[in-house]
């Protein structure tokens, strides 16, 4: 008959260890560590865009719309549809799109979730 409670040693040891929880978001927000290459919110550099429209055609979630402005065609990114796959980043020939480390993409108005 095995003696029950072998686990008690580890349980009691954990009592005195530091907790594994990070108290996000009310305190300790700074402890959330994101590595380089984390796929967050889209950032768009208007200067580099040449109006290729490849990003809009390749997006799996149809989150990129193409509009016309005084310099030619350019994309409008709907963050509320984005699935953060990064395909538009790969396809863009001038590397005008990058993914930042922002992951708290919620807003009270839809307009705040559109990157122009």
């Amino acid at each position: 008959m095995r003696l029950p409670g072998y686990f008690i040693v580890e349980a009691l040891r954990n009592l005195f260890k530091k907790r594994a929880t990070i108290l996000y978001p009310y305190r300790e927000t700074e402890k959330v560590h994101l590595p380089e290459g984390f796929r967050g919110r889209i950032e768009f550099n208007r200067e580099k865009c040449i109006g290729g429209q490849l990003c809009s055609r390749v997006c799996p979630a149809k989150a990129i719309e193409v509009i016309e402005d005084e310099r030619g065609k350019r994309p409008v990114f709907l963050i509320y549809r984005c699935i953060y796959c990064g395909q538009c980043v790969e396809v863009c020939p001038t590397k005008a799109i990058t993914l930042s480390k922002e992951f708290e993409n919620i807003a009270l108005r839809k307009e705040d979730l559109v990157v122009r």
Binding site: F7, F38, R39, V58, C85
Partner: protein, 397 residues
Amino acid sequence: MSFEVPIGPQHPIHVEPLMLRLKVDGELIVDVDVDVSYLHRGIEKGLEVRTYLQGLYLAERICGICNCAHSLCYCLNVEQLLGKEAPPRAKYLRVIVEELSRMHSHLLWLGHYFHTLGFETLFMYFWRDRERVMDMLELITGNRVTTAYNTIGGVRRDITPEAESKLRKALDYLEERMRYYDKVIDSEPTILARTQGVGLLKPEDAIKLGTVGPHLRASGVKHDVRLDDPYSGHDEIPFNVVTWDTCDCYGRVKVRMGEVRECISMIRYALDHLPSGDYRLKIPPFFKAPEGESLSRVEAPRGELVHYSISNGGTNPYRYKVRTPTLANILSVTYMLKSRGDYEVYIADVPPILGGIDPCICCTARVVITDEARKKRRILTLSDLERYSQEKGARRR
């Protein structure tokens, strides 16, 4: 006192909706009925209206936990259609991320399984260690769960030396923790009382019911797609197929823990022998696949995953079919939950047995046809499905 107890569709042990109707006599279960149609999302139709590259991201989201297996299977499928093969470095990198994802899935399952048994402390510990695995996945691929690492023709990123050293440290830590958990599980009488002798499935019955994956290997059958049909450099990377011959829930726990150890050794081997070269073939984002059909198999964390596609020369697949491992394993649940003779099943055994197959219902539901016009519901069996897809393939030709 004999009545029907519904476990589901909403129930604390289910991660996704699943209907199990149990006919009980006191605490003994006498009969059982399964309904898996609550989570049908129309993914196969969605794959038909998207290009191959867009479909990759949809296929990845068939299941949150097995996402790496689905995207890998899809990529292998399309590469087969195009007649291309990924470069050697890409194969090894794919193996690294796939095995990390398998470790993540097994640690999640182990934690969830002990939670259903009532052992919350071990649940928290397993998930704390799973956080290390997720941090590693985030470091290598950029996201914790939907990794989006595989692409048609290779992988999307290379692994940096800094990520490699952090990965090795994490693997050492996890190996030591798994040794400790092994000792705990073997020495804790309450766990042994709840898992040994529960959910018996003899090997002949398992093969007859079509079970796959760790569930089958816990009944002593040595069947693994990585062994039978190596798909990504598995013929070069040495590994053991873990089996256990007790045929019960205890065996399933031991098989999965053994597989985590195997994953660790496979990742170490792959890191040590990583071939140099390109990690990606140059494939344009929009292409027309040549006509034909292709089948790809992958060992997902839950078992054998099969993707089948037919192409008629366009930018979208003509038909895409997914057969997930949980669909194959659900039949054995109905078999294991019925009391026969000496073998008694209680209501309290439903969580260990149902959890033992590692159900991922979101992968499963693809088999209900609701005919709105005629107000009828048809549920297709496995043989019906085979016939249906064969007919459609024959029609196209």
